[in-house]
Subunit: 407 residues, 2 copies
DNA sequence: GGCATATTGTTCGCGCGCCGAACAATATGC
DNA sequence: GCATATTGTTCGGCGCGCGAACAATATGCC
């Protein structure tokens, strides 16, 4: 039951029906490939006649192609259809405090190359260096493949519409128009997004339909806690394009000071930094970027902490479990607010899922308002898959498959 | 950029374009009435020819009617079109702890009759009594008018799909199938909704477009704090139809016990009960329903507290301001998460808006992540308008105007 | 009053697109 | 070689948006 916005709507023209059905067909092929025209018609509940025309148009637009013929027990053998993704490329960039991740992949999310290097904080130098690396990376590809854009993911507040980094404390960037700078240096379209929302986009657009669903929250625990909300198959961006910041909801108004300036934010209790601080007895309120740099040099991470917990370090285990408890309490609040189909969890701490699951679950039960809500599925996504980079790629690939705007 | 759900979509048939445009026309007429066919065509950017046919169909379906002819400086005088709402009626029921509110109104939300009486907690007695009152109320209306359904609003968790009250602590109802009971007693379609979400529906469907917008959060402060989230013109209901419960997000995990069983919920800091408890020095954790009944008998409400604050009672003023501060802190969190176009505020405490606005605003600045977010418009809705009852009516009226499902 | 002008609302041919049915193409089994 | 089954294409029918022409109805100026 959606209300029509009478100040900003699209009427249906005589080509609208075709536009809608062509786009549906593309998506059904994408998720069911390889698939024949006849199967497509059955799945869409349309006649083969119409589907034949839709397929012809999609082939002419070079969005799909015909593959091998399949097997059939009787009758004419079907011609399989595939979505053209192999030769449509996207560059993904994930800028983080210590390292910058650069990936080349195709429109299905298949990884074609990756580079990880120290982050350069000076914006002009960063841009110049990045453009050089991208150029080199694209040269290695065949001549048939075309790069259709660059997706950039930043840890902080981003206005996705203007491509400006509003405030990324970890990088020290404030009001930086990173989009136009990279676009000018590479001559490619650039999209910028916040890391939590990017992960949600990756989950929505680049994972199998069974694991993605249409309404979920993605929670990524790293130095901070990034989150993205997807409702009815659409990422929530909000009025200023800054929606989805569950990381800074309070667990305690008088709690430890967070990097955002407020006190007692969720991420000040359950982020990697918070977990380490708990173990080492640091005062998180007094932790400066300098301390963080120091820590990275010592390179003792949450993964090391988990290893210690596994070898019998009870102090390590209890530090991790404490984070798990706060994680669960935050998840309960998210579920009470959004009531999603599922919550996706990513980050190093998920490697200790066997150690903390029970703690997380019982914390969730504490604060969820109904039993059904407490049973909301939690889905762990392996950290090795570079969710942020996949999200950056999704920024470029998604418009090809998105539903047309109607009414 | 919405993703198409390939397991649950609607293809466009040869009547889809017409369906879409007819529904758009209905909404444009609704918000622009009285309006001529020619104006409608200009606003929809269609030819007058098509609009003429759309209007003809809407008239045949008895959704609109032709009114008087308007004035024009030159040329043929336009025929004004109106949406037919006067003779389409809805019954609205708002069940609260002390009183039950019963209203009869038309599809534009115009109030035709109202009854307020003591709530009967026994479900069979409540149903029987309600059916009797509704029957009487409808008798008073002319024979042309038709009641198209009953909207019921309950303070607590409701599964809107099944019509079951999952848990309404204020009424002592748990797992009560109120919908089928009322439907059987009245022989009318019944829709049940949670009070916070109902208010959001009222704001979306029954207020002028300028004040409603397409993405907002509605916050209703009463004995508890009810909230409803509207994104892109659609109420967020969630997997179990329990979404939108901002009232039970924590401000302090070790804070005072809330009626929901958890500690330190937002509503335990800023609800009317919390405000009164702060003034009288009660321990909210030990407040039972019996205490509440007692309190209602003494009938000292937040409105009385506001009156005392205005006459120089500094203790009263500081109790109200403290609630205002917590209100602002919670609003900041909502804004960080949803980043809505606006937040609507309702409840007795808004009558003291001149006393608390500054406090609320400065609390918001404390916890919002960007300056733009801190400037999110707050819109006060007068309590006299019975937002919950209007929401109950919206449950019945909205399906007539909602966008058709496509793709 | 008569005529030019302007605006509203209707009608109609055209082309696009879904629908159903017929038909061509291509395979298997007896 | 022929019946049967399945895939994929073609075609007439009809719904619908689009543009243009036309009818209806008002005003202003002579």
């Amino acid at each position: 039951m959606r209300k029509i916005n009478t100040t900003n709507f699209s009427i249906a023209t005589r080509t609208t029906s075709r536009d809608i059905n062509r786009r549906i067909a593309l998506n059904v092929i994408r998720e069911g490939q390889p698939i024949s025209r006849a199967d497509l018609a059955r799945h869409m509940k349309m006649t083969r006649g119409v589907v034949s025309v839709l397929v012809q148009e999609l082939i002419e637009q070079e969005l799909i192609y015909e593959g091998a013929t399949g097997e059939a027990a009787r009758g004419r053998k079907p011609t399989f259809l595939h979505v053209r993704t192999q030769d449509r490329l996207a560059v993904a960039v994930d800028i983080r405090f210590t390292k910058t991740y650069l990936m080349l992949c195709d429109f299905s999310g298949r990884q074609l190359g990756i580079e990880i290097y120290d982050t350069v904080f000076s914006v002009p130098e960063f841009t110049k260096d990045l453009a050089r690396r991208i150029k080199k990376m694209l040269k290695g590809q065949g001549p048939g493949a075309v790069c259709e854009g660059i997706g950039v993911v930043v840890p902080g507040m981003v206005d996705q519409r203007t491509g400006k980094v509003l405030n990324a404390p970890a990088l020290g960037w404030r009001g930086v128009d990173i989009r136009s700078k990279i676009a000018a240096a590479t001559n490619l379209p650039v999209h910028v997004e916040n890391s939590g929302r990017a992960c949600a986009l990756a989950q929505l657009w680049l994972e199998k339909a069974e694991t993605a669903g249409q309404s979920f929250v993605y929670v990524s625990v790293s130095d901070g806690v990034g989150t993205g909300i997807v409702m009815n198959g659409e990422l929530i961006r909000g009025r200023d394009h800054i929606a989805g910041e569950f990381g800074h909801m309070p667990l305690d108004l008088n709690g430890p000071r967070c990097m955002c300036g407020a006190n007692g934010c969720w991420e000040a209790y359950t982020s990697n930094l918070a977990t380490l601080a708990r173990y080492f007895g640091w005062n998180l309120s007094q932790l400066s970027p300098k301390h963080m740099k120091e820590m990275e040099k010592n390179s003792f991470t949450v993964l090391d902490l988990i290893a210690r917990a596994r070898t019998g370090d009870t102090k390590a285990l209890s530090a991790i479990r404490a984070s798990g408890r706060f994680l669960g309490l935050g998840l309960a609040t998210i579920i009470n607010i959004i009531n999603p189909d599922a919550v996706y969890l990513a980050g190093e701490i998920t490697n200790s899922w066997d150690l903390i699951e029970e703690t997380v679950r019982s914390a969730m039960v504490e604060r969820t308002l109904t039993e059904a809500a407490a049973r909301t599925p939690l889905r762990i996504t392996p950290a090795q898959e570079y969710p942020r980079l996949r999200g950056a790629a999704a920024l470029i690939a998604a418009p090809t498959f998105a539903a047309p705007r109607v009414a």
